[in-house]
Symmetry: C2
């Protein structure tokens, strides 16, 4: 019996999301290297093995070690090379096809100097997101880095890696298409200029686009679960969301049509979307069903979160239908952070599924 | 050697914060029931044992069980009674002086009906924060709840509990004083009317106020570490902050004076303060010292966080002095959430200290 905030996983929805993305990538004739940072789960990783996969993508060496321990043999760490990790990189590179991102000549030379095994690298290209990599217009630096990698002893230049995380600012599938086109065009030019594979992968673009230009590999991650913000971005329908939080209702406040729930920032994270008023909110309420949940209930959302408390704003009907002791179900804004905080999943069939950051208690 | 994001704890600063708050509470002749939700650590809990303490406060039954397992015998769960927790409550109430918050007559009656041991309760009063409890002006409901508790078999009415979490909107110590006065006055009236103890405790008010009216018990929590937002609220000086994140620098971006670090939302949380421009930021950079850290460096802050990546905006000088492979130190915005995410502390003397949510890996 659920008595405290619990992350529930609808296995069929996740399997359907995996199948849909995998078959899209296959039909396009591209390679699929799904990002595992969203689920961070060995069991869920295994669900991907039914589908054609070139390898997997993770966002830290810790995650790479975790999945390598379960038999994954080709892993991209989609995070720029950190010289402080060199010991772990050497240990892992001697066992698997480890692929690392490099973002400047100096660190590529440093990596080469300290490696004890050969390693494949991707040059990270910043598609104007402003987070990481060489800006896609900076042909001089791209050229220098290619030279540095080609002159190295232990690095093999696999290709380019690019993540357009600013696609999260889109608010419709048309937005996503308009946003992605110039990026895909620029990346395709880079591909054609250097004749090297390009790996690309944000969930909005990978969910919506039909044409990926000259791109060779896709590595989206969030699509395995999706979440409420992805419905707002235009990547998916609410029915595609594969995880939800079940939280106990603890008190009712009739004067403000609000419920107090056990479920706060240590469960949901503080990631938020904005209401039309400009105020933040932290999740979308759906009806609690015996196995799973129903469609979003209008005007019912997680209004505030503090450490363990959450306040849910309700429609009149939902408020009058809900009592302390009930469990209510809330679609999280950002599934990656919610799953990382919760550290474990309970499937709608009552099976426990583990997560890398599983809590001791 | 630190190679990945690490939460560093300056034990002397934390001990000094504990000593200062404890001696303030003692001098005022009040009872001290510090909130342990910030540190969630058995070892740090033990540091409090040198000082006069009436009991401790936690925000979940899980935390209460954790500290009870280490010999704490009087624990307030500062969260309204959740009927789904009744089995755990009965188990714990048979062993320790467990105190629970009640917020309405129905749930008090429900609690009484299902208890197998006697339990002390606090009636939670909402000091206009809008989160939880009976509003301080709602004398009718307060009266009804007192009656329900007094008519019960197993509940002993200990007193009132009130948390003014909206003090976090203050931006100077004068602000905090002005904000707190009417709340303390109202709570004092309630105290005088019903002649029952009142427990009160947000870190800003407890750090700044000199006069607590008729209040009997204080239960602040964040003060053990403080954090960057508390310096902005007016509760403390930057030198009082007892925890900081050490993060590897991975890349430099000269065109935008920014560093890429390993350190993101799964380490810091997404809690933020606002720059003058209205843009959010996620931490304040300080110089990295061999043991600990120095004073805040102007114009250097954690500008954005995604799952594992952080972008640090730098002054010209800090940018030119910092290289990939360096560790930089960042004061977190909100220490409670950062500690909960990190799940372990490394003291400036290189000792590992545990946290309830310690990660498996």
């Amino acid at each position: 019996m659920i008595t405290s905030p619990t992350l529930v996983l609808d296995r069929n929805k996740a399997l359907e999301n995996i199948k849909k993305m995998s078959s899209k990538v296959s039909k396009l004739g591209l390679k699929f290297r799904p990002h595992f940072k969203t689920h961070q789960s060995l069991e869920i990783g295994n669900w991907f093995k039914e589908f054609p996969i070139d390898g997997i993508t993770v966002s830290s060496l810790k995650m790479a070690k975790y999945f390598a321990s379960d038999g994954w043999e080709s892993i991209t760490v989609a995070f720029p090379f950190n010289i402080l990790d060199i010991k772990e990189i050497n240990a892992l590179a001697s066992k698997i096809d480890l692929r690392i991102l490099v973002v400047d000549s100096e660190s590529a030379i440093e990596l080469d100097k300290n490696l004890t095994s050969d390693v494949s690298v991707y040059i990270e290209i910043d598609p104007n997101y402003g987070r990481s990599g060489i800006h896609l217009n900076d042909t001089e630096q791209i050229g220098n880095l290619i030279l540095a990698v080609n002159n190295s002893e232990k690095l093999t230049l696999h290709g380019f890696y690019s993540h357009a995380g600013h696609s999260y600012k889109c608010r419709s599938s048309n937005d996503i298409a308009r946003f992605s086109k110039p990026i895909i065009d620029s990346l395709s030019q880079i591909k054609n200029k250097y004749d090297l594979p390009i790996c690309f992968g944000d969930t909005p673009s990978c969910s919506v686009l039909k044409n990926f230009g000259a791109i060779d590999e896709l590595s989206p991650g969030n699509f395995v679960f999706y979440d409420w913000i992805q419905t707002q971005i235009g990547s998916c329908d609410p029915k595609d969301i594969a995880i939800a939080m079940k939280c106990p209702v603890v008190a009712k406040y009739p004067s403000r049509n609000e419920l107090l729930i056990h479920g706060g920032a240590v469960h949901f994270s503080k990631d938020h979307d904005l209401l039309e008023s400009g105020e933040p909110y932290f999740g979308q309420v759906v009806p609690t069903l015996n196995k799973g949940w129903g469609k979003p209930i209008e005007e019912c959302y997680l209004k505030t979160v503090s450490q363990e408390h959450g306040i849910v704003k309700c429609s009149d009907e939902f408020f009058s239908d809900t009592e302390p002791g009930d469990l209510i179900t809330i679609l999280p804004i950002h599934s990656c952070l919610t799953a990382d905080l919760m550290g474990t999943y309970l499937t709608t069939d009552d099976e426990r599924i583990s997560h890398l950051s599983e809590k001791r208690i």
